[in-house]
Symmetry: C2
Subunit: 403 residues, 2 copies
């Protein structure tokens, strides 16, 4: 079985039957290794993906780690990872691993998909077509009403409504979707999924703790990329926003001020080839400037669920900048270049001399240096883990300026 | 001298120096004939234009009238027309004749330009580039404020602001433009022009009589297609709306409900190749549905004067459907077919048999019937004046179904 990312899925011989879970799904055999690699400080989502692409498994990548990052990439002890897994099971949650069954297919299409997600609630909520509703925390009463009505109608049409559990528009969107489900009269109604910035045991804002519990209990799901115990910090929110966008075929922005987080979500959605919708508002309301601006830039003007349904595609557009697909689930051929500390091989020197701080397509690097693509990929991974280059969407690469 | 319609302009040997007029402009020598033809019941704007195109002058057209319309096209007595002219001069107004100096060039590009306009105020207000602001009569306070601020900024940028003197958005637009001019500090500020549905002496709504007087007194102008004494009726408003659109390079719609008059103005503007702008508003406000819908259909989303200035062209786009230009100011060659009552010539029968109730381009009629273009034009005019065919934009023609 292949996922949308072309990742091979392990046989379903390992299950995690967490308390109260309706739809258990197989966990990969090497779940602990994957979680350990994902929890290694300095190994972000992109690096995680590239390590698995290069070494074929989390275990092999862990074994190779000491050779990178000047010895700073130290995985947590196995015991810490086992404790995290047990703690999540105790909460009634489970993990979803990139490339394994149950991992949301659309999210896996990002260039930096979360290596692992902790989930509370029903994983089935992630299966239907999904649309995100996001907007201002300090939303007007009218904006909250619009979000709630839109979410209710979209959930009523069978879609999953994604949001970020924040105050204002986010909370209204979750509530609207829950309302569509609340009445037994709507058996086909959709669900709602909250992506949160901190750990699943750190609901934020605190006043939405009850809402988070309701979502998990009433057929929806709550997802966190951060480990349990992580308090949500400012830097976590853009990463949360990419999950909101990544889970969705389209993002609807209701009341967003200029330079607000909702506009980050909108930009991430566009970068991932997702459809963009915005609810218009009065030019006199600063909370509508950002959303009106999105309409000016081409977002679908949205007054009702029909406007969303009319333009929500079956699949994401091919993103303007997309990562190449590599089957890291199947064992990769042994790397032709033995991993070595940066700066020691003539081939590596040749590659470095080609690069600049302006992004260059990896294909062009390959063409110019007369090395094989796999050799170049190996060199670039070495350089990336050493912090000397940065991999960018569209399979482009640039020097970071550090050496 | 040729106007934008290719109409030859008579020599400026006749002047109307009405009381208080700053910028007298020449009146055509045959002003009384033109007014008489224009005031003939049954001779609308399109028929007026085609009669002059065919007969070369208003006098020749008047002489030919008895042969058309089964004798129902009876011009008013010359005395009535002389009295109207004197009454307008007494009010301090003057006439602008299609094809004569001072007639607004953009308005003359319509397929049905008003044959004559009565003007109060300063004709110079018609010279600069103009933009229309229109919208709901029952506008919200916020909508009126937006209209007033937009108009003030657009007039401040030197544009003439056109509107319809109605309650709500129209009045706010006029007031905003007047405010831009009120301060001597803004010598380059634009003016405002009101197109009214009834006669100039019948301000409507009555509470805007003072505003009409202010516009005429403070550098602006008030225009009426209808004769003095005409009370504004429902059927006059769409004709007023085409003048609002026709005077303008672009139309800005602020708060318009579905099926409102503002949307008629918007449609007429598009048909005439003018740019369309709309101010967004909350989906919860029914007064914004029409304007939001215009944005959905491609109108420029407008939050500030900058949005208008960025998209206001130097000249109208070539309209999708435009009338052919004919130089009716120069004496036309004598009609090859003597005007005759409909239904008597074999050529006419041949043309009628080609036509249907679906519009057909006149060029195609010419091609199919093997008559010369001028013979076909003459036959079609006969049929139009007899009420048997209707001339449509794009030089197309259709049977009315009457005979």
């Amino acid at each position: 079985m292949q996922t949308s990312q072309g990742l091979a899925v392990p046989p379903p011989d390992a299950y995690c039957r967490a308390a109260g879970m309706n739809h258990p799904a197989p966990m990969p055999e090497d779940a602990l290794d994957r979680l350990r690699l994902a929890r290694t400080e300095g190994v972000g989502a992109q690096t995680y993906l590239r390590l698995l692409q290069r070494f074929g498994s989390a275990r092999a990548a862990l074994a190779a780690l000491p050779r990178y990052g000047r010895g700073t990439l130290v995985p947590p002890p196995m015991g810490a990872v086992e404790r995290e897994m047990a703690a999540l099971a105790k909460l009634g949650g489970r993990f979803l691993f990139l490339g394994a069954p149950g991992y949301p297919a659309l999210l896996g299409m990002l260039h930096d998909p979360p290596p692992v997600l902790a989930l509370l609630g029903d994983p089935v909520a992630l299966a239907p077509r999904a649309v995100a509703l996001v907007g201002a925390r300090n939303a007007s009463a009218a904006g909250r009403r619009i979000a709630e009505e839109l979410a209710e109608a979209l959930a009523g049409a069978g879609l999953t409504v994604i949001s970020g559990l924040a105050r204002g528009i986010d909370a209204a969107a979750h509530l609207g979707a829950l309302r569509a489900r609340a009445h037994g009269a709507k058996p086909g109604a959709g669900r709602t999924v909250a992506a949160v910035a901190g750990g699943l045991d750190q609901p934020y804002p605190p006043e939405n703790a009850a809402l988070q519990a309701r979502i998990a209990a009433e057929g929806g799901a709550v997802l966190a990329e951060a480990p349990l115990g992580t308090a949500p910090l400012a830097r976590h929110f853009p990463r949360r926003n990419r999950i909101v966008a990544g889970l969705s075929l389209g993002v609807v922005v209701v009341e967003a001020a200029p330079r607000s987080g909702s506009l980050i979500t909108a930009r991430l959605a566009l970068e991932a080839g997702r459809e963009l919708f915005a609810v218009p508002g009065s030019p006199l309301d600063p909370r509508c400037r950002g959303s009106n601006d999105l309409i000016r830039q081409g977002a679908h003007i949205t007054e009702s669920a029909e406007d969303v349904l009319a333009h929500l595609p079956e699949a994401p557009r091919e993103a303007p900048l997309v990562e190449p697909r590599l089957d890291w689930g199947e064992p990769a051929p042994p790397p032709p270049l033995p991993p070595a500390p940066p700066g020691t091989s003539p081939d590596m020197t040749q590659v470095i001399e080609l690069l600049g701080t302006a992004p260059m397509p990896v294909d062009e690097v390959v063409r110019r240096c007369h090395l094989s693509p796999s050799v170049v990929q190996a060199i670039l991974l070495d350089l990336e883990l050493a912090g000397q280059v940065e991999m960018l969407p569209g399979n482009r690469v640039a020097l970071t300026g550090r050496s």
